[in-house]
Assembly symmetry: C2
Homo-oligomer: 107 residues x 2
């Protein structure tokens, strides 16, 4: 893994993109819980919601790692999973964008 250095501007762009992806994911989780509640005939749906949220918490904890050593990998995953658009990373240095695209092209 290449160690990148992050300029102050890049750190600001990274933080904003990271937070935006997390907000989107939280909104999607909330909408899914609302959907489960409104679709379910049985009140036992609360245990399905519990299982769903446990799994989502595990995923989110694992995915949202804001260490600069991890961030290129994290952004590649967020783009691949649809939580970020590549153009929301505009302003990062070309070496990082290139590294992100490389990861995206592999998997």
């Amino acid at each position: 893994l290449i160690e990148f250095s992050w300029s102050k501007t890049e750190k600001t762009i990274a933080r904003a993109a990271f937070d935006r992806a997390l907000e989107r994911e939280l909104k999607a989780i909330r909408l899914e819980v609302q959907g489960m509640l409104s679709r379910a005939a049985s009140d036992r749906v609360v245990w399905e919601i519990l299982d769903y949220l446990r799994e989502k918490q595990r995923e989110v904890d694992e995915r949202y790692d804001f260490r600069y050593s991890q961030l290129v990998r994290v952004f590649a995953i967020l783009v691949r999973e649809g939580w970020l658009n590549e153009d929301e990373l505009a302003g990062l240095a070309p070496d990082k964008l290139e590294a992100i695209r490389k990861i995206l092209s592999i998997r």
Copy 2:
């Protein structure tokens, strides 16, 4: 603890009361989750819901113990917590109803 014997009729009454209490509790949990969702401005409410449901699952697992050796104690708790009315236990033998009232009078 006194060991009670349960007639077939009593077992039927007990099962119905137990299931009714659990249904009411599940309905209350579902309504609380719906309330949390509708009141919350932030999507982070999903993590509050997760904590709430974890705690409720722990409580429900602990409380709803349908062993005949535990049932008098369980019913006393369900009456005390408002999930059952005493008259929904009508048809149980007087010794059991007496034991339930005794527990209710102590705590």
